[in-house]
Amino acid sequence: MEAATELGLDRIDLVGMYRNMLLSRSVEERGRTLFKQGKIPGSFYTGLGNEAAAAAVGTAMGPDDVGAVIHRNTGVHLARGTEPWKILAQFMGREDAPSRGRDGNVHFAEFDLGLITMVSHLPAMLPVATGCALAFRIRQEPRVAIGWFGDGSSARGDAHEAMNFAGTRQLPVVFVCNNNQYAYSTPTRLEYAVDHLAARALAYGFDGVVVDGTDLLAVYREARDAIEKAREGGGPTLIESVTLRLEGHGIHDDASYVPRELFEEYEDRDPIERFHRWLVEHAAFTDDEQRTIESEIKELLSEAVKRAEASPEPAPETLLDGVYAPHDVFETPHFS
């Protein structure tokens, strides 16, 4: 527990993050089932293997901080308070989903909870995250923006421009790389030619750190430090969180291009099991507690499925609503 206490985390926090990871995986597993049942149109993606990193960074964020999420970040949504039924409704393209059926699968975020909806084009939201940080800096607010990206998307110009600009102005932004060793089928050696993407930070005038993304507390520590540093005017940090994508890119992909040994290497580094072991060892986490959480999640999810399925398909005549924001959009209490 000491390591955790040092981080300002009490047992409730720890179990909360553990629950987040379990819930995250359960939501995604339920999504997979729904997809196979033909209830989710289009395609389907999960963050299998990224649960610790998502839960940790999502939890380390302050209440007024904002984040530009990407796919593989279900735990971030949960940490900020998105209800599971909304995520399932999103996958299913329903009217009450965050994107109201206009966009699908992982392309959503609840703005009221401080998250910003991603576009597919990776990593186009990094300049946007930098822009959020710019607003905080201009107004001298103690707020921080988080921008996520993947190992693959690090290759695009948007990553560079966002980081370079953030560096020149030492903006309060933390760049979090979910390095899961693959971009679709492409291994990192074809994406970049350095050992660690964290090295990029040095070229932009801020710090870069590499962290084992399967180790929840380690990620939490780095995220918290980076966020607090940014909040205090210390400028950006690039956190490279190394994991392995534990399945294919999407549900259609069997990941046969990933060497079996690599999967084996990560077998006992499943972030959830790993933190479960830690909790048992250091926080006397009991089987009873585990069962309680599991059954709670089970119930939550069957409720979620019901509620998501109860949400109607978007009405065709609403198609053109909101192509333009109306003039009084900022006067309405809730515009998301």
Binding site: A68, A109, P127, G131, I138, V323, H327, S336
Partner: protein, 324 residues
């Protein structure tokens, strides 16, 4: 009312809006102490400090994306592209992120991108373009192309007020060449509303930006022929004032669209297509376009003269239209 140049009208608006609204800030290359490549922002950094007039690196993507993020956080960013041409480097951020975000996620993106555009001074292929037509195909964007100092002020004010991404095409050739009365106090010109520059009965000439001034000259010339040309200054390209154009053509039964941008799939096509579909019964002559030809903007003056529509070309096109 005081007379201002087109450039002064823009500069005055920026200053007024920054004074009025703390959320407004400017970002672009060399816009601070240097005052911008065209000196539009001259003196503003001195007045408002370096966090409201921000010298950006040579990073159009970071500038546009940065504006989007700042707008999401409640600011009212105004970006300057050093030349409109360079907006191609921010294309993805504009069309993929800013234009679609409200429809997809319900979050408005109130940003303004200022684009010094247009040719006429041997700027060559990359300092002379009018890229409005490419953007006109992107739902979610608003595009304005003021032709007069007063409209420059009124439309820029509206653009800043607007909760959507607005591309503000300011024609470089008009900066110091066009003067006009501009009310000192704040006012808006609604986006999406055309202006009847001059009433007429024999033909409708629809145009915008620098071409408006050629249209006036051409219409003057036609007066000698005894013809009266109605000139519609479109002012906004997205949304465009269909009603005003249709009403005018319904009256005159003849249409000529003039634009400085190139022809194929240029915005003139949209206007002709709409008029042909909607006013089929009212047309007395085929609707016509007069535009730059389909090639990059040339550097050499001999070529650029050929490239840009000239007053004589307008006069000829109008005479042909009337003679039909």
């Amino acid at each position: 009312m005081p007379e201002l140049t087109y450039l002064e009208a823009i500069a005055q608006t920026l200053r007024q809006e920054m004074e009025r609204d703390e959320r407004v800030f400017l970002i672009g290359q060399d816009i601070g102490a240097y005052g911008g490549a065209f000196k539009v922002t001259n003196g503003l950094q001195e007045a408002f400090g370096e966090w409201r007039v921000i010298d950006a690196p040579l990073s159009e993507t970071a500038i546009v994306g940065g504006c989007t993020g700042a707008a999401l956080m409640g600011m009212r960013p105004i970006a300057e592209m050093q030349f409109a041409d360079f907006v191609s480097c921010g294309w993805d951020q504009i069309v993929t992120v800013a234009a679609k975000q409200h429809w997809r996620a319900g979050t408005p993106i109130p940003i303004v991108i200022r684009l010094p555009s247009g040719g006429g001074f041997a700027g060559g292929p990359f300092h002379s373009q009018n890229p409005e037509s490419s953007f006109a195909h992107i739902p979610g964007l608003k595009l304005v192309c003021p032709a007069t100092p007063s409209d420059a002020k009124g439309l820029l004010t509206s653009a800043i007020d607007d909760p959507n991404p607005v591309l503000f095409f300011e024609h470089k050739h008009l900066y110091r060449r066009v003067r006009g009365e501009v009310a000192e106090s704040r006012f808006t010109v609604p986006i999406g509303t055309a202006r009847i520059e001059r009433e007429g009965n024999d033909a409708t000439l629809v145009t915008w930006g620098a071409m408006l001034h050629l249209a006036v000259e051409a219409a003057d010339a036609l007066v000698e022929d005894g013809a009266s040309i109605e000139i519609v200054d479109l002012r906004s390209i997205l949304p465009w004032d269909r009603d005003a154009v249709l009403a005018s053509v319904e009256k005159t039964s003849r249409l000529l669209v003039v634009h400085e941008d190139t022809r194929t799939a240029g915005f003139g096509a949209e206007i002709l297509a709409t008029v042909a579909a909607e006013l089929f019964e009212h047309l007395d002559a085929p609707p016509r376009r007069l535009t730059a030809p389909d090639c990059p903007v040339p550097f050499a003056p001999s070529l650029e003269r050929r490239f840009l529509p000239q007053v004589e070309d307008l006069v000829t096109a109008l005479r042909e239209l009337l003679a039909y």
